[in-house]
């Protein structure tokens, strides 16, 4: 065992994972081939809402290589209902959520039949031979229409399209005063409605599942973020004993919340494997992923902000409509509620009310997507602060500064009832303003306006915070969430000095293996290379709550520290015994125990070996040096930062170009700055994409028009600016590492910075809002036609694969 000299924490190590991920010499679920493995293909409904009046599978079943064709009717008895782990209110209404439709289909893309064949080719060929008869039902797509009296219903049995209404009111909760009174007494009231378009997580690796029913148990490999939750839910849904289910998430190529799910296809593969006694694989295509994997966002946000003439905010009222889609998935109804505590953001609102109405429509269910609830909240409040600044003719940064929590006011309990432990908004903002050259850009903006330059400059601000480190279990309980929010870690101290860390977090691209190795190396004084991290296999990592909500480091990392400290505590006792010294005289530094004031020392490796052979242990000490720990956080963590965006808007074409983007994030202490930088870059790309590029568009029949990556526009590197990133470091004081979380920060912060910049560029031309994504046509119509909503976006004729006719077009 070697001792490390350079501190591990804060070191920009390259990721251990990268070589095998980049070369492909690794294990994705779709790479798994088992003897006798069958292949499943899924026939999906082209209709958004219809009764299934007949399915004829006889031709398909007779095709070469096809072993079985199953419909919802065949599986109705055993498929159960897909789980929703977050019934947000006592009186929430929800339909059963079948993995495969039985009598009716409720979104285009819902499974209606499955083919099991001896090859993927045979399975897909047979899909075309299945004949389904549908009787069309009225399609419900618009949330406001869906809530009207006499509206067509997605689920007539429920008698309503309303899933639930969830309310937080600061006067009722005792965390603030009454917002209605604040509004009625206000000197200034700003009301705005914003639309959070529907987004598609678009992870790089499509979802894939393999289920092996051999050896007296079920082993499932799945491209999932949540192997532990998945095992629990499979047991609950399918009645199979939990200890006979093993779930493995091998290397997983991105999730962004899109793989925080118990999917219909996971259940269907399980059912088929159980029925046929053979291993089964399903791997989706990109279009299948976009048609059936859960979507994100999709809210209408009505905001009312009250303030005094001097700029002091006095109240905030938020009224949301949130689109659930056709069914509730794992945490569907809770996603908008995660935003409930964040609309007040970094500002000292004395009164606050949040009302969210969840609505069913005939669309793919929504669920977690990077930021989940918090990007929506941050967008709304940061847009509103800009609107208030305009109303009061104030500089938008000065107005924010006037209202935010000053660094010496922490810990600060907000009007939403959260206690922000630490933060320093002034420091992050000052640094960002300096890097950005704010004053020079404002001068250039004024100059371009004066000379009526066709290309106008806009400056957008987002001073954001978020709640990370999901989550204190008691808080989750109070919010009616079905699970806890703790995390587990175990250390296996091997006799040769190597260390295996077992974590309950489930990495899917973040670099946990590297960062966790650094934490263990730092804490135990072992070499980084001598640590390996085991994860995402319920047989090995037997206890965990997986990865989402920027929780892995703040919660899972803390469990690692606790487990390491248990190892050291026991090792110290044994070291004292070995060196014949009093325990109080034993010091530990860089992997060595030494007796204070003497030259006597022994390494942790020697102590571990002594514990392993157990030849001479103190009385009552158990052999071995392994330890485990479970950490349940007392509080969330609250990363924050200041993001500044300058856009050039071509008023002749409506094209938006990001000229510069500066962000200074405070994510607390940093384990690996390279990984943090990567997370920020990816997050910015995704948040900017919401502002400018991405939107899931349905036609009036409920067909998803953006079902390929030619139509659903993800930006690539050339479409994005060079980012200027920096950090301030205000440690969290709610965990021993002082860390906060970084996985979602860029996504949460960047969207309003970009949209604020676009609006700022053309505000003097009479524009006060443009719906996202701010496409060139939308910007142009806003500037030249005064049209700020209802401008369509989506695939273009001749501008996407959707334009190619069914004959294939060519020649």
């Amino acid at each position: 065992m070697t001792s490390t000299i350079e501190p591990e924490l804060g070191k920009a190590r390259r990721r251990k994972e990268d070589a095998r991920l980049i070369t492909g010499n690794t294990k994705w679920t779709d790479n798994i081939h088992l003897t006798g493995m069958l292949h499943m293909a899924v026939l999906r409904s082209p209709m958004a809402h219809a009764r299934i009046t007949g399915i004829d599978v006889t031709h398909a079943a007779a095709m070469p290589g096809v072993l079985m064709v199953l419909t919802g009717a065949d599986l109705a008895e055993e498929q159960g209902s897909l789980p929703c782990a977050w019934p947000i209110t006592e009186d929430m209404v929800a339909p059963p959520a079948p993995a495969i439709a039985v009598d009716s289909v409720n979104f285009a893309g819902e499974a209606v039949a499955i083919v099991i064949a001896d090859s993927d080719y045979a399975a897909h060929d047979a899909l075309e031979a299945i004949d389904v008869e549908y009787e069309e039902l009225p399609v419900v797509l618009d949330m406001e229409e869906a809530l009207k009296e006499g509206a067509d219903l997605v689920h007539p049995d429920l008698g309503t399209n309303k899933n639930a209404t969830w309310i937080f009111d600061s006067a009722e909760a005792g965390t603030g005063s009454d917002v209605e009174q604040a509004i009625s007494e206000a000197e200034v009231v700003v009301e705005r409605t914003f639309r959070q378009q529907r987004l598609i997580p678009a992870f790089m690796e499509p979802r894939s599942v393999v289920v092996d029913p051999s050896a007296g148990m079920f082993t499932m490999w799945s491209a999932t973020q949540v192997p532990h939750i998945l095992r629990w839910m499979l047991a609950a849904v399918l009645g199979e004993p939990e200890h006979k289910i093993r779930v493995i998430a091998p290397d997983v190529g991105g999730g962004f919340g899109g793989k925080l799910q118990v999917t219909p296809e996971e259940v269907l593969c399980f059912l088929v494997a159980r029925r046929m006694g053979k291993p089964v694989k399903w791997t989706e295509t990109r279009t299948e992923s976009m048609l059936s994997g859960h979507h994100g966002r999709d809210q209408i946000q009505k905001l009312t902000l009250s303030a005094r003439r001097d700029g002091t905010v006095t109240g905030l009222k938020v009224e949301l409509l949130a689109d659930m889609g056709a069914y509730l998935r794992l945490v569907t109804p809770g996603v908008p509620i995660l935003g409930a505590f964040m609309f007040n953001a970094i500002y000292k609102f004395p009164s606050y009310r949040f009302v969210c109405t969840n609505v069913f429509t005939n669309k793919v269910p929504t669920d977690a997507y990077r930021g989940a609830g918090r990007p929506e909240a941050t967008f709304a409040i940061e847009r509103m602060m800009d609107e208030l600044a305009v109303e009061l003719d104030r500089d938008p940064m000065e107005l924010r500064r006037q209202n935010w929590i000053a660094h010496d006011e922490f810990p600060f309990t907000t009007v939403a009832g959260l206690t922000y432990d630490t933060g320093n908004y002034e420091a992050a903002t000052d640094r960002a303003m300096e890097l950005f050259g704010y004053d020079a850009l404002r001068r250039e903006q004024a100059e371009r306006r004066d000379r009526k330059d066709p290309v106008q400059l806009g400056i957008g601000i987002s001073t954001f915070t978020e709640m990370c480190g999901l989550a204190p279990s008691r808080v989750l309980g109070a919010l009616r969430y079905a699970a806890g929010g703790w995390e587990h870690a175990a250390l296996r101290m091997l006799p040769t000095g190597k260390v295996q860390l077992i974590t309950g977090t489930s990495p899917h691209g973040q670099g946990h293996v590297t960062a966790w190795s650094q934490i263990v190396a730092d804490r135990l004084g072992v070499a980084f290379e001598d640590v390996d991290v085991l994860h995402s296999d319920t047989q090995i990592s037997f206890k965990g709550m997986d990865s989402y909500g920027s929780r892995s480091l703040a919660v899972g990392g803390t469990a690692i520290v606790m487990a390491a400290d248990k190892v050291l505590a026991k090792a110290r006792t044994l070291a004292a015994h070995m060196m014949e010294a009093g325990e109080e005289d034993v010091e530990f530094n860089a992997g060595q125990f030494s007796v204070r004031g003497t030259g006597t020392s022994t390494s942790l490796g020697d102590v571990v070996l002594a514990a392993h052979v157990a030849h001479d242990l103190p009385d009552g000490m158990e052999p071995g040096m392994d330890a485990d720990a479970t950490f349940d956080p007392e509080n969330f963590s609250f990363p924050h930062g200041t993001h500044l965006c300058a856009t050039e808007v071509d008023t002749e074409t409506g094209a938006v170009k990001i000229r510069s983007y500066v962000c200074v994030d405070d994510v607390g202490k940093v384990v690996n700055p390279l990984i943090v930088e990567g997370q920020v870059h990816g997050g910015l790309a995704q948040g900017i994409a919401q502002a400018l590029f991405e939107e899931a568009v349905h036609d009036e029949s409920g067909t998803l028009m953006t079902a390929t990556l030619a139509d659903y526009l993800l930006p690539s590197a050339v479409d994005l600016p060079n980012f200027t990133t920096d950090r301030t470091e205000t440690p969290a004081d709610t965990n021993p590492l002082g860390v906060k979380g970084v996985g979602e920060a860029g996504t949460i912060a960047s969207t309003p910075a970009v949209v604020n910049a676009v609006i700022d560029a053309v505000r003097h031309l009479g524009v006060h809002d443009i719906e996202m994504p701010c496409t060139p046509m939308r910007v142009w119509k806003a500037v030249h036609k005064g049209q700020t909503e209802g401008v369509p976006t989506g695939p273009g004729a001749g501008g996407g694969l959707g334009s190619i006719d069914s004959q294939g077009g060519a020649q």
Binding site: M777, P795, G808
Partner: protein, 284 residues
């Protein structure tokens, strides 16, 4: 993303290829670089019984000097086209447009002739070959025939090619010393054009001798902006003249409306982008 089953042949001569097309009936598809056909097959938007792969036809690859014109083999890749010195010198507009096609991977696989025969109105090479009055050289069972670009593009994804005919070469008259620019407007770099404008201008002594302007995605086929061209001939090559001429760009077009652009916005873009393309071309 598994296509329906199909038969596959990869002939080694043009004659064999034409024979294969003739034997394949109505249901045959030609594959050049495969950059449009393969996605369509994988999405099962097309289910041909036979795919004739031209990738062995090396004779169709390359650019040749043919006196007053260039001959560009149909299987010449975009990458080869954009780097070819003959094209840069005598048909710079084609090089400019080719540089904007999709992304480097597509440009290494995709072919000049494949793009033209596919006839996607948003494809970037149609307007340049139309503007330059190129001629399509076609081989069928009864030998060769030549069709001018103006008659080649018939409708959305539809050309003058019969099912048993192959586009083998494109003859492009030399426009040596002309200024050229392809102004492409799209939302992300690798996307198709919402609207694009191909402009080539012959300027002598500050006067516009001749101008050629082709529009991408302003109708079911590429469109020549004749009114713009006429307004420029014999005029000084100034921004004022160009911008006045560009105001005619949408005349005679019939653009579609979709989520990226409705008709009104496309017509507006055509005018703005025509001005930009011409202004860039006269200084090029």
């Amino acid at each position: 993303m598994i296509p329906s089953a199909f038969d596959y042949v990869a002939p080694s001569t043009v004659e064999e290829a034409v024979e294969a097309l003739a034997s394949g009936g109505e249901d045959v598809k030609v594959m050049a670089g495969g950059q449009s056909l393969i996605p369509v097959l994988r999405l099962r938007l097309a289910a041909p019984s036979l795919v004739v792969d031209l990738s062995n036809l090396e004779e169709l690859s390359g650019v040749h000097d043919d006196g007053d014109s260039l001959l560009i083999g149909a299987m010449t890749t975009h990458y080869e086209v954009q780097r070819d010195h003959l094209i840069r010198e005598h048909a710079a507009l084609i090089a400019e447009a080719t540089e904007t096609v999709a992304d480097p991977q597509v440009r290494h696989r995709g072919t000049f002739g494949g793009s033209i025969a596919h006839a996607d109105p948003a494809g970037d090479l149609l307007a340049p070959v139309l503007a330059l009055d190129a001629t399509m050289i076609i081989q069928g069972p009864n030998g060769r025939r030549e069709v001018p670009a103006a008659e080649f593009f018939v409708d959305y994804f539809t050309t003058a090619l019969a099912p048993d005919e192959l586009l083998i070469e494109v003859r492009v008259p030399k426009r040596t010393g002309w200024g050229a620019h392809y102004e492409k407007f799209n939302r992300v770099a690798q996307a198709w054009s919402i609207v694009a404008v191909a402009a080539a201008v012959n300027v002598s002594g500050g006067q516009i001798v001749e101008a050629r302007v082709g529009l991408t995605n302003m109708g079911p086929t590429p469109v020549r902006a004749h009114a713009v061209e006429q307004a420029l001939v014999g005029q000084p090559a100034t921004a004022e003249v160009i911008n006045a001429a560009a105001a005619h760009a949408a005349e005679g077009t019939s653009p579609s409306s979709d989520g990226n652009a409705d008709q009104e916005y496309r017509e507006h873009l055509a005018r703005v982008l025509t001005g930009r393309a011409l202004n860039a071309a006269v200084v090029a």
